[in-house]
Symmetry: C2
Subunit: 203 residues, 2 copies
């Protein structure tokens, strides 16, 4: 019997890391599957069905998300993180219209996931309380893109970042009121009506 | 002792009518006072304080509105009726911009009374459930004014009455999100941002 190699601690650490990467991928797969099922089939979908569709064992889902509420919160935060990643990509190019692209995504995506957020926050979703850090990141990106659009004259001058964020919340409510959450086309049209109000007035 | 005059029944009826007119005026005074106090001081205002400010006895308030919820509902319906009366006046002249005037009133007035409606309807106010008849009247007026504005080219062609009503609900949510319910100036600005999205695109 040989003694363990001197690098056994780093090796074990490496395999832990692999396990963790695997667990992270599973967690992500569960979240994306849950998001889709909640949006298309409603919040009644059982955790076991989500596990089956995500191709993981039911134990995996229950271990990561002991309650439905834990899953709702994780789905919401995951969606916000995706929006932040999209915002980072938009910030990378110089298009002054990037603000409108980001806001349109926030509005339609947020409306699609309205049921999850309603369940979490009773009726009104507030980015600022669900996940303060990632919500703050998103607000900062909106603020930066708004500054850029202001400089380029691509957005009306009299609109503040607080008003823009309020209009995103308003779009969620408008889309829900119209029952348009599950229609990308209808929710996008309502988002467009609101966003067009932010265009600079014709000269 | 003379026998009662032959017209005693009509006379009694007349005095009943006067009493009823008096009761109606008191009821109205209570509603307007309650609306103002709820908007400026919140929903915690006691019924007795509302009576005092309206200049009626506490019994009058308790008789008309046995619970706070009954008063919330009556205030909401009274506000809708005032909007309908305003819509009727706007419908009387030929201004194609009347639609925008009515919607601006609906948005700012609705936001100002958001606390009352939230208390009534848990978070999201839906005109269609609070008072179906008077809400239907208001929707019909919006629809008529939208038709007129469409004919005059004063509003974009691709917006439906359902979308317009959804945007009103969206405006309430946006104004609440911005914490602008109690500032006429700030709520009017958010309403304007949304309404400007309904203007026809520049030629």
């Amino acid at each position: 019997m040989t003694s363990p190699p001197p690098d056994h601690v780093p090796a074990a650490h490496g395999s832990h890391r692999e396990l963790r990467a695997d667990a992270r991928r599973n967690r992500e797969r569960v979240l994306r599957t849950a998001q889709q099922l909640f949006a298309t089939e409603g919040l009644g979908v059982p955790l076991d069905e989500i596990a089956r569709r995500a191709g993981v064992g039911p134990g995996t889902v229950h271990r990561h998300f002991p309650t439905k509420e834990a899953l709702y919160l994780a789905v919401t935060i995951d969606q916000l993180k995706q929006l932040v990643a999209g915002a980072e990509a938009l910030a990378g190019n110089d298009d002054p219209g990037a603000l409108f692209e980001l806001l349109a995504r926030m509005m339609t995506n947020g409306a699609e996931n309205a049921a999850v957020k309603s369940a979490l926050m009773a009726a009104e979703f507030d980015l600022r309380t669900a996940a303060p850090d990632v919500a703050a990141d998103l607000t900062r990106h909106v603020s930066d893109l708004l500054d850029r659009a202001h400089s380029a004259g691509a957005v009306r001058q009299d609109v503040s970042v607080d008003e823009v964020m309020a209009l995103v919340a308003g779009a969620f409510a408008a889309i829900r009121h119209a029952g348009a959450e599950t229609s990308r086309e209808r929710s996008a049209h309502i988002a467009r009506l609101i966003l067009d109000g932010l265009r600079p007035p014709p000269q």
